[in-house]
């Protein structure tokens, strides 16, 4: 073991990354602005799509950090900085939510006072679904998420210098408290932003569904960044390909988990056949939407399942990179499938418009820019973490 004493040396990302991020941001904003001029309501929906896509990557990453601390995992310690950088987007979403507050009237039927007065079901939901309580919830949720991000990352970075084990302990407590809060807040966020697009419809599993998608998005983005950084030598030189196996394994597990949750929701609603519940699936089965529904099953489950089922594929960097990009794409389709049929409603089938992807592209660009600045400012490896050495030794 001659290379045992190799240590991590800080390397900086080239300006090319920043340029790519900036370019995506600019293109996305231009296309988004165009979409807004053409059809403001539709643009509002696509803004929500982009918002939720990048938000789920961020909060998924926060959950991965929390999971590492609570489970006492060591394999993920050498790569923990990557989810930390990805999570840096979360505090910005409070600002990014502001345009949505102005678009609420277009997106959410329950904000129309006249409609609520004439609809006894919406009237019944008014104590929960009203604009002021909605905004309070959004603010509280983002403050809680941002607080976790700031504290956990501050402790983690402080440890780079002090190497104080007490900081690990602090983060364990912080994460253990965060996880139940996260479960509740993510459920509420899912209900508020997406489920209430159709304010009549309800499903108790919805929060779990949103969680499965968010965790998958966080994992896929982490995997993609870890593999790309590792290949180019930005991470710890002693990090072995084998340590990717757990990332691949988790991706595989949560692909299955998502399918399990999605199937459970569908089967129970289809089987019981109650009109107030089936309406949601029928809307996704009308006209060309049925194609999107079928595509979702193939793209979000069958293909990634096959890609990652074998043991060697779970630690093959090339395969992982491809699978991660694929899963992120599938997640975008999943969110599209959740959000956009509510725009089209009963009036038309699914019509594909390129401008819908303006805002998602802009938000992805923003995430790349944030990643660039965070990466170059901080160590890419938690050098002071007591579990680092264990993580580097970990060979499945």
């Amino acid at each position: 073991m001659s290379n045992d004493n190799l240590q991590y040396e800080k390397k900086f990302l080239p300006g090319k990354v920043l340029n790519i991020g900036m370019a995506l941001l600019a293109i996305g904003l231009i296309v988004g602005a165009l979409a807004f001029v053409l059809d403001p309501v539709r643009a509002g929906f696509s803004y929500l799509l982009g918002f939720f896509f990048v938000l789920t990557i961020g909060v998924g990453a926060l959950f991965i950090i929390a999971l590492e601390y609570v489970a006492g995992a060591d394999w993920s310690t050498p790569m923990r900085r990557v989810p930390e950088f990805l999570g840096s987007s979360v505090p910005f979403f409070l600002l990014l939510a502001v345009p949505l507050f102005f678009l609420m009237n277009d997106l959410y039927h329950w904000t129309h006072t006249a409609a609520v007065e004439s609809d006894p079901i919406l009237k019944g939901k008014e104590p929960y679904l009203n604009i002021s309580f909605f905004i309070i919830r959004v603010v509280v949720i983002f403050v809680l998420w941002s607080a976790y991000y700031f504290f956990v990352v501050r402790n983690s970075r402080k440890q780079d210098e002090t190497r104080d084990q007490k900081l690990t302990k602090k983060n364990i407590v912080l994460s253990a408290v965060f996880i139940p809060i996260f479960a509740i807040t993510l459920t509420l966020a899912g209900i508020d932003w997406m489920m209430s697009l159709d304010a009549h419809w309800f499903s108790t599993i919805y929060g779990v569904y949103v969680f499965s998608g968010a965790l998958l998005a966080g994992l896929a983005a982490t995997t993609l960044a870890v593999v790309m950084l590792k290949e180019r030598g930005y991470l710890h030189p002693r990090m072995h390909n084998d340590s990717l196996a757990s990332l691949g394994g988790l991706l595989f597990a949560f692909i299955n988990f998502w399918a399990y949750i999605a199937f459970s929701q569908f089967l129970l609603i289809w089987y019981a056949n109650l009109p107030e519940e089936t309406v949601w699936f029928i809307r996704r089965w009308e006209g060309a939407w049925s194609i999107i529904t079928l595509v979702l099953i193939v793209v979000h489950f069958l293909v990634p399942y096959t890609m990652l089922v074998s043991a060697p594929s779970k630690k093959n960097p090339k395969r992982l990179k491809f699978a991660a990009v694929w899963i992120l794409f599938a997640h975008l389709i999943d969110l599209y499938w959740l959000i956009m049929p509510e725009y089209h409603g009963e009036k038309s089938g699914f019509i594909y418009v390129l401008t819908e992807f303006g805002f998602p592209i802009a938000m992805i660009g923003g995430l790349v820019v944030l990643f660039y600045f965070n990466f170059n400012k901080h160590n890419a490896v938690p050098v002071g973490d007591p579990k680092l050495e264990r993580g580097l030794m970990n060979r499945p």
Binding site: I121, A183, T204, Y206, G207, L268, A272, L274, K387
Partner: protein, 456 residues
């Protein structure tokens, strides 16, 4: 308490040598059972007998002996079925999922949990069979081409249960047996009496501890773990379908599948901790099944307890949010209706009391955890009672409202199920190694050579 995070916690305490580990685990099987063992067996057999008598009455007079009525057509026997199937979830979770996650601490508890899985599924299987009313006709549950022209209803989740439970039982049994083969070989080599030697030789299938034996073993173990993992999820998912595919308010809710699986793991872990607390004490296994193991299990109990709490809260909130008056009524009725006592037992035992496990001191205290896990067992039985009975007892029309009271035979069958389970557990601890000798040796200090020369 300061923990050094740069080192892994040792899994075995007391610096035991490999030989000492083997002696310790094999000891109960080489000694004659003592008085205490016979007393314990007498107690469990008595309980078992009570169940057998209740069952005899049920067979003779029919299921009218139970408290089931209109509108509560499903009661204790379905509750017991779901409860015991739930208990049977910890074993495969520990042995298969934790194995795939490379959690080494599973080694000391996996065998016991797997065994409990098998016994719990055996107990559970009795209830739907007798609930059919004419158990001698249960053969028709299996789809086979018969001259009677009878064919099963493939769209019914009750039939899916037949497949799910029997598959789960079969795979769990094979998984458990594969893990036992090397240990049977150890027992074969240690034992002195002829009869025992014959039996252990038979079951060890000619195991020679050779490199080739181990290679085959490891490979089949991984494959079986892969098979067993989806089964852990599928069984309780399908049990939840028994309720959720209906259109009963209180039963029909989409969160049921993951909620049932979480609850099953919760109750299964609680039962494993309950029994392990006795086993480690009686057989001096405190250095192998350490407080660290129990603490980890208590953490799982805390986590899954909160998952169950999350499901209660979601169900309640969405019932209100849905705006469906029948949904709303069922949940108000659960909390304030005639079965409010059962609901509050459920909430306090499953959601409130496990919160004590947030504190490290309480998580590691044997008396505290003993009380909490017993409460969790109680709470999880009541959870199923609340789901099954309270959803049924007040039908849409107030003229079809009723109240279910168990008869002595219902209670006798419940008591008998515990008797059967613990009798089987007692027989097991004297016949087979309660901890996997081979696996525990593999995680002992020094068994895994490192380039530091095994120093710690």
């Amino acid at each position: 308490m300061n923990i050094d995070y740069s080192k892994e916690l040792p899994l075995i305490h007391g610096r035991l040598s490999l030989g000492e580990i083997e002696d310790l685990i094999a000891k109960p099987m080489s000694e004659k059972p003592n008085r205490k063992y016979y007393i314990a067996l007498a107690v469990t057999l008595t309980l078992f007998l009570i169940g057998a008598i209740s069952l005899g009455y049920t067979f003779y007079y029919g299921i009218g002996m139970w408290g089931n009525n209109q509108p509560v057509g499903w009661a204790f026997e379905i509750v017991n079925f779901v409860f015991w199937i739930g208990i049977g979830h910890a074993g495969t979770l520990i042995s298969a999922i934790l194995f795939l996650l490379r959690q080494k601490w599973r080694t000391a508890i996996a065998r016991f949990a797997e065994t409990m899985t098998i016994f719990a599924v055996m107990v559970a299987g009795i209830f739907p069979t007798i609930h059919t009313g004419r158990p001698w006709l249960d053969g028709y549950l299996l789809p086979y081409p018969s001259q009677n022209g009878l064919w099963v209803n493939f769209t019914s989740p009750l039939l899916w249960d037949v497949f799910a439970v029997s598959t789960y039982f079969t795979v769990s049994l094979v998984f458990w047996y594969i893990g036992l083969i090397p240990d049977f070989a150890v027992m074969r080599d240690r034992t002195t009496t002829k009869v025992k030697k014959f039996i252990y030789s038979l079951f060890s299938l000619g195991w020679r501890h050779s490199n080739r034996n181990w290679q085959h073993y490891e490979k089949s173990y991984v494959i079986l773990a892969g098979f067993a993992t989806p089964l852990v999820l599928s069984v309780h998912t399908i049990v939840s379908f028994d309720f959720a595919v209906s259109i009963m308010p209180g039963w029909h809710t989409t969160i049921f599948p993951p909620y049932f699986v979480g609850g099953a793991i919760f109750s299964g872990f609680a039962m494993v901790v309950t029994v392990l607390l006795f086993v480690r004490k009686v057989f001096d296994l405190e250095n192998i099944i350490t407080v660290d193991h129990l603490e980890r299990m208590n953490k799982v109990i805390l986590a899954t307890g909160m998952m169950v709490g999350y499901a209660y809260a979601t169900e309640f909130f969405i019932a209100w949010y849905s705006g469906v008056p029948f949904e709303q009524f069922v949940f108000i009725n659960r909390i304030f209706g005639p079965y409010a006592w059962a609901y509050w037992i459920m909430v306090s035992c499953n959601v409130i009391f496990p919160q004590f496990f947030w504190f490290r001191k309480l998580r590691r205290s044997i008396p505290v955890m003993f009380i909490i896990v017993i409460l969790v067992n109680v709470g999880m039985w009541f959870e199923r009672f609340v789901i099954v009975v309270t959803s049924l007892h007040r039908d849409y029309l107030p003229s079809s409202w009723g109240y279910f009271k168990p008869t002595i035979f219902d209670i006798g069958l419940l008591v008998g199920s515990f008797g059967m389970f613990f009798t089987l557990v007692l027989l097991f601890v004297k016949a087979m190694p309660v901890v996997s000798i081979a696996e525990v040796k593999a995680v002992a200090d020094g068994a895994q050579p490192t380039h530091h020369g095994g120093e710690h």
